[in-house]
Each structure stands twice: as structure tokens, then as C-alpha cells.
């Protein structure tokens, strides 16, 4: 359908609650014809797979990496390529990669050639590293303790071979969240990164009055560290109860917590969302703090490599990071990676007891 952008916009013409366009408008004919009637797929290369319908029809998918943050010019370039090889059809993945949908086999290789020529990075399909689910960071969020895009770029530059060619025992899902609101899937990813604070929020009593609601602010605190300060018509924070989570700041701008020196990055690992083999798992903290070191966060990348390499070396086929660790045991994980086990690793919150080792089952390490 033809899209129209009037020179003069009459806002009274605006329609409300029409919802998104119907998905059928964007499906290639082959998909419309074989919708819900696929027989199987074959992964032909890290950037190419074909889905075969029961009718015998086929659709080829060429996947390229995307930084997710895209300029309109890049989008136009993608559209132009799609026109040339895909009758204009393309899609994005739930992990922000771009997928070109080819109905005509003869166009597959030319497409791949052109994409390479234009420096697109093909890959991410199959048992390897794919793109990183991430968030806004310093680009657009007031809550960000760390940037997201920069960390993602640094990570993927390091692990690029595992996106384009090398295999891993199973998919490795990275995720980045710039604060503990954890927009995205950090809490259930193989290896994930979250921006954290380590100091108590500063209370701007003057602004509190005008900008914040007492009950909401108190209710936002996971540890009930916030109590009223009637005198100041503001609040007090019981420092010894504060976990620096920043949730009070989410509801009250008068409680800034950002701190160039003391904010940093935590690494959590072993989560997954799929139901294959083992039920979905939460990620668990393995590195409680690393410095916030733009533009390339070398400490974070180094630590990640230790974990990643240990996984590659130790995991059996089809084991996700969390499944590998559960098999070898956490004592072995810390011994192998050389990451020190610190106070912060021991839970002291709601479900703490459930994480304590209530058995004499122990492996002896070194």
C-alpha cells in the first residue's frame, strides 16, 4: 500500500486506537502461502538458513548484525537491498538482527555478496553468539549507571568470531541493562551485564517537597530503608539498610544516585528462558563490581572472556552456560575462572535461605 505524507498536516484527521497495521501486509507471498505449514529448516551457514514448507516451497533467510540504533539512512540502505533481492521483504529478530527474506534461490548468493561488499556482518544463526539484547544507556535514559550501546559494541567486537563463524556448545545469550530496572532479559541470560551503584542516594530535601510523593517513595524501597523526615517534609535513608538499587530515584528525582566514581558494572550468568532440557533459570551474580570504564570497558571484557572461555572449554554439547555450571558446581566454576567469591555473592534478601547449601554434597576444589 502507498504511504502518504501530506505537506500540510491536519491533526484533526488523526485517527485513534487503530492499532498497528495488520501483519499480513508485510509477509512475503511465499510466507502467506505456507503460513503455519512449514516442514523444517536447515542452517546452511551462520548467516543463512532456509525454511522448507510442506508444499515444497522454500524461503531463505539471510541474517546480518545490527547495532539496533539505526540512522534513517541505514534503514533506507537496508530497504534498497531488500528491494533488490527480496521483493522488498525483510524482518527484524527479537534480538535486533536484520533478516532478509529471499524467495528466489538464485538471489541468495548475490545478496550475500552485496551485503559483504557493503560491510554488513552476517551470522548469529545456530549454536553461537547472537546479538545483544540491550537498553538505552546514556543515549536516552536518566537512570543509566552505565552506557549500553558502548558496552555492547565492545563485547561484540571481542566475540565477533562467535557470531560470524565459530560455534559454541549451545546458543550464548548476552544482555546488557544500564540500571537495575533491567529493561530487557538480563535476569535470565547466559551472560549479562547490569549497571549498578554502590553509594546511598543523595537527598535533596528542598526538591523532595515539590517533586516527590512520600508513600510512593517509601514503597519503592526493596529494603524499607526509607523513613519519613517530617521536620524537613522529606525523607531519611537508613544507610545500613540501603542496597543502592536506585529504585527510589526512579520515582523521586530528588534522590539522585548517579556517581561517576562509584558506579560500575556487575556480571550475572547462567540464566535462560527456553524450556529445553532444564526449566528457565535466573542469572546469578558472579562479578559484583567492575569499574565503569568507557569507551571499551576493558575490565568487563576481560572478565567476560574468562567466563566465556571456561564455558567453551568445559561445557558439553547443548549445555547452556547455566546448565554447564550446574553440572560442574559453583565451587568449580569459581575455581576454574579464578573469580573470587565475595560477600556480595551470598544472598541476604527474601529468598536467601533457598540459596544456602543445605546439604553435605560438596566437591573439593584445589
Amino acid at each position: 500500500m502507498p504511504y502518504v505524507i501530506p505537506e500540510v498536516v491536519d491533526v484533526k484527521q488523526r485517527k485513534t486506537d487503530i492499532g498497528p497495521p495488520h501483519y499480513k501486509n508485510f509477509l512475503p507471498p511465499i510466507i502467506q502461502k505456507n503460513y503455519g505449514d512449514w516442514k523444517e529448516h536447515q542452517i546452511l551457514s551462520p548467516g543463512l538458513m532456509v525454511h522448507i514448507a510442506n508444499s515444497g516451497d522454500k524461503i531463505w533467510t539471510v541474517r546480518v548484525a545490527s547495532p539496533r540504533l539505526l540512522a534513517t539512512d541505514t534503514l533506507r540502505e537496508i530497504a534498497e537491498i531488500a528491494d533488490k533481492y527480496c521483493d522488498g521483504y525483510l524482518r527484524f529478530t527479537t534480538r535486533n538482527n536484520i533478516e532478509f527474506l529471499v524467495s528466489d534461490e538464485s538471489k541468495v548468493n548475490p545478496l550475500i555478496e552485496e551485503l559483504k561488499a557493503r560491510n554488513f556482518v552476517l551470522g548469529g544463526i545456530g549454536s553461537r553468539v547472537s546479538n545483544v539484547v540491550h537498553t538505552q544507556g546514556w543515549i536516552h535514559c536518566h537512570s543509566a549507571a552505565v552506557d549500553a550501546s558502548g558496552l555492547v559494541k565492545s563485547l561484540m567486537d571481542e566475540f565477533i568470531d562467535y557470531f560470524t563463524t565459530k560455534e559454541t556448545p549451545n546458543k550464548v545469550r548476552f544482555a546488557v541493562a544500564c540500571c537495575t530496572n533491567m529493561c530487557g532479559a538480563v535476569h535470565c541470560s547466559d551472560i549479562a551485564f547490569v549497571g549498578i551503584h554502590t553509594k546511598v542516594p543523595r537527598i535533596e530535601h528542598e526538591r523532595f517537597k515539590d517533586l516527590c510523593e512520600l508513600p510512593t517513595t517509601m514503597a519503592a524501597c526493596p529494603t524499607a530503608a526509607i523513613i519519613p523526615d517530617p521536620a524537613k517534609k522529606s525523607i531519611k535513608i537508613k544507610e545500613e539498610k540501603c542496597m543502592y538499587c536506585g529504585n527510589c530515584y526512579s520515582v523521586c528525582p530528588a534522590l539522585p544516585i548517579k556517581d561517576p566514581e562509584n558506579d560500575g558494572v556487575a556480571i550475572v550468568v547462567g540464566g535462560k528462558v527456553g524450556n529445553l532440557r532444564t526449566p528457565p533459570k535466573f542469572s546469578k551474580v558472579v562479578v559484583a563490581f567492575l569499574p565503569n570504564n568507557p569507551p571499551r570497558w576493558p575490565e568487563v571484557i576481560k572478565a567476560t572472556k574468562k567466563i566465556f572461555d571456561a564455558y567453551i572449554a568445559g561445557a558439553k554439547k547443548h549445555e547452556r552456560v547455566g546448565e554447564w555450571i550446574e553440572r560442574i558446581g559453583w565451587e568449580k566454576f569459581f575455581a576454574i575462572t579464578g573469580i573470587p567469591f565475595t560477600w556480595q555473592h551470598i544472598d541476604d534478601w527474601t529468598y536467601a535461605f533457598e540459596t544456602f547449601r543445605t546439604t553435605a554434597q560438596i566437591k573439593w576444589v584445589k
Binding site: Y3, V4, I5, P6, V11, K15, T16, D17, I18, G19, P20, H22, Y23, F26, G36, H41, Q42, H51, A65, P67, L69, A71, D73, L75, R76, E80, A82, D83, R91, T93, T94, W138, C141, H142, A144, D147, G150, K153, M156, M182, C183, G184, H187, T216, A219, A220, P222, N247, S250, P260, V273, G274, L276, R277, T278, P294, P295, R296, K317, T350
Partner: protein
């Protein structure tokens, strides 16, 4: 010509094999002053290691309570282009399929009314248009609506539903994820555009337990396709896998959580009555095994990020629900559940948190469901629990003790 900021730190991130978001920002900056200042501001954040955005203000379009994230810069004087830099969320087409026309249309609009910077896509699933001013919002929304697009959700409202590629391009999809997503999005337009819930409510749909949209981890309502029929086995294809070097015993049999597969070197047997429907064997022996009808979905509730009670994963509410258009059963359930939540939920309390606060029974009774073992990993541990009038009336044990 737009203003040019020195960006030595960011320039570092133009190097390296992975596509560079900095290059994207520079492309946009070259022709868009907002993007130019956004680039300069980001360089400053990289230098100072802090964000310079203020808390979001309330901005939006007439008649809508959401869809736009208001953003103002703390350093408006140094970076006037981003003094106002709101995000517009456009509800994506289900399955994230596009035509080049549609993409170009979005670009044209955004070059005219915004920074030229986008996210395809936001984590919830929306098309994210990064950076515009308040007065651009009405015309933007108007042009999108004239061309069949609408705003996505934000705030304490229904959020933009999303799904996996499903039946459009996956042989394992046991429900029509795109259609379900489209239908639910249309059904709840009012709830999506006019925040009236205690907090956000997210719906994610996936075609099978592989969960390619992380539905179980980040949706208040997780719809996960599943099957009740036996797993159909093409023994020849299985043997091919073995020939090609797969260790069926190690890679399939030993990893089956139902412990219900056997392999004698020639034939694969599955005792379907012990199958946990995890998808491992089907996925790893792709093409050789096939789930069979009846198809439907397991409906789970409650997953969310850590605040305030800690991160949760969704838990089972309906072990199995048929999913046939017009999806009346799930629509009714969503209404009942969100009404109950709206009545009892505190401000900023997700529905899962409310259920945990009041107990499953309060919730299940409110939506008219009975308890079933599939809802739990295991029954409760400590020997005290509530009784309601009538629970023990008529000596319930007499019937089953027979």
C-alpha cells in the same frame, strides 16, 4: 551544516568489526542538528561517566496517556538540540515483518519530525523513534495514523504485545503467534493508550516452549504454544543424525528431562506419557521429530524485572488453553485478571506481585479457576494454611478414600 562536536572517545567505537552505533549517530548527525547534539552529549557522558538526562516529564498526544517518553537534557545550554528529546514508541507489526516501503515511510516521517535516530526495536517490541520535540508529536501521530500505524504503550498501561516469528517462518509454532498478538493488541487499544492499571502489563506470545521472545521472563502474561499429541518420529532421519555423528544417547536421551526416550542404536522410542514438552529432542533432531495436535498454549503469569520483590519468571495458570480466533477465552481472562488487579493492586505493583501478596487462591477464585498440580513445582512445605468456610464441608475425603 550541523554543529560538529569533537568525539575522541566515541571515535574509538567506530573501529572494530561489529556494526558501530557511533557511525549511525554520525550519519544522522551529518544532517540533523538534534542528532549532532545527541552525539556531543554522549561523548560528554563517556568522558564524565554519567548520564545527563533528566527524569522523564509527561508529554504526549491528545487523547493518549502514553506512547511517548518525555526526555529533557540537563545540559540544554551546551546541547540545545537535545533540550527536548522525547522518544516516540510506534506499535510494531506482529512478528517484526516489514516492507521496504514501510521502512522508507517511517524514515521520511522521522527525518522530517525527529532526530533521524531509531531503535529497531525496543525490548518490549515497539519501533523506537529517538528524539523529538513536544510540538512535533501531534503531526507525527497524525501522519502515522493516516498510514495505518499507531502509538505503542508506556506508563501504567497495557504494553505493546509482541511475539516470535511463529507460523510465519517456523515449523514448530503450535499457535498463531502473530494473529494472537494482533488480535490482543486491537482488543486492548483503550488499555494500551490510556494508562488505567496500577502499573505496566505486558503480553508476550511464543509458538512453542523454545520461547524465542523470552515471554516467560519479561511478560506479565506469557502465552507459550505447546502440544498434547505424541511426538511423531521419522526413524530414518534419526538414523541420519546418528550416521552424521550425533551421539543420540549423550545428546538426546541423557538430556531429556522426562527421561522418556530410549535409543537402541537403530530406533528412537519416546514414552509420551512422561514427556515434559521441553522441545529439546525436537529442536536438536530438527526435521526428524514432530509435535502433533491437539495444539494450544500454556498460559503463565507474573514475570518481571527485579523491583520491588525481586525478579520473577511467569508461572503456570492454565496448563493448556485452546487458541482459536477470536481467542475469547484468553481475552476474557485478561479482562478478569486486570480488573481484579486494578481493584486490589497498589500503585506500581505488578499483577504478579499482587498475586504473591494476596495468595494464588484469591487470584484464582477471582478469575474463576481451580487449583491444579501443574501450577506448582511442588506443594507447600510448612504444615499451616488457610481454610475457608466450606472447604471441609461434606467430608471431601470420603469420596477419594473409597
Amino acid at each position: 551544516m550541523t554543529k560538529k562536536h569533537e568525539t575522541p572517545l566515541l571515535d574509538e567505537l567506530e573501529k572494530g568489526p561489529f556494526p558501530s552505533f557511533v557511525k549511525e549517530m554520525k550519519k544522522a548527525a551529518a544532517k540533523n542538528p538534534m542528532a549532532a547534539d545527541e552525539l556531543g552529549l554522549l561523548e560528554k557522558s563517556f568522558r564524565d561517566k554519567v548520564t545527563y538526562w533528566k527524569h522523564g516529564g509527561i508529554v504526549g498526544v491528545r487523547g493518549y496517556g502514553g506512547g511517548v517518553i518525555g526526555r529533557y537534557c540537563e545540559l540544554a545550554d551546551q546541547f540545545p538540540g537535545v533540550a527536548h528529546f522525547h522518544t516516540v514508541r510506534i506499535n510494531q507489526p506482529a512478528g517484526l515483518f516489514y516492507t521496504s516501503e514501510a521502512i522508507r515511510f517511517i524514515c521520511d516521517v522521522w527525518d522530517r519530525y525527529g532526530s533521524g535516530l531509531t531503535n529497531f526495536h525496543g525490548s518490549t517490541g515497539d519501533i523506537i523513534l529517538l528524539g523529538t520535540t513536544t510540538d512535533n508529536l501531534e503531526p507525527l501521530a497524525t501522519i502515522f495514523s493516516l498510514n495505518g500505524f499507531d502509538l505503542g504503550g508506556s506508563g501504567s498501561a497495557m504494553r505493546t504485545p509482541s511475539c516470535c516469528v511463529g507460523p510465519a517462518r517456523c515449523e514448530w509454532s503450535m499457535i498463531d503467534t502473530l494473529d494472537i498478538t494482533y488480535e490482543l493488541t486491537q482488543e486492548f487499544q483503550d488499555e494500551l493508550h490510556r494508562p488505567s492499571f496500577p502499573y505496566k502489563f505486558k503480553i508476550k506470545t511464543v509458538g512453542c516452549p523454545v520461547d524465542c521472545n523470552a515471554a516467560i521472563a519479561r511478560a506479565d502474561l506469557s502465552i507459550i504454544g505447546t502440544w498434547k499429541g505424541p511426538i511423531e518420529i521419522d526413524q530414518d532421519r534419526v538414523r541420519d543424525y546418528a550416521k552424521k555423528g550425533m551421539n543420540i544417547q549423550e545428546e538426546i536421551v541423557n538430556l531429556c528431562p522426562g527421561k522418556c526416550i530410549t535409543w537402541d542404536g537403530n530406533n528412537l522410542k519416546i514414552d509420551d506419557s512422561d514427556c515434559l514438552h521441553c522441545m529439546h529432542c525436537i529442536a536438536k533432531l530438527s526435521g526428524a521429530l514432530k509435535p502433533t495436535p491437539p495444539f494450544g498454549a500454556t498460559i503463565l503469569i507474573g514475570s518481571k524485572a527485579p523491583f520491588v520483590i525481586g525478579a520473577t519468571l511467569s508461572w503456570v495458570i492454565f496448563p493448556f488453553m485452546e487458541m482459536k480466533s477470536p481467542y475469547q477465552e484468553i481475552k476474557d481472562f485478561i479482562r478478569k485478571a486486570t480488573e481484579w488487579w486494578s481493584e486490589y493492586g497498589k500503585n506500581r505493583e505488578r499483577i504478579g506481585e499482587l498475586i504473591l501478596r494476596l495468595g494464588m487462591r484469591e487470584f484464582l477464585e477471582a478469575v474463576g479457576l481451580k487449583p491444579t498440580p501443574e501450577m506448582v513445582k511442588e506443594p507447600r512445605r510448612d504444615p499451616f494454611w488457610f481454610w475457608k468456610e466450606g472447604d471441609l464441608e461434606g467430608k471431601p475425603w470420603e469420596s477419594w478414600l473409597k
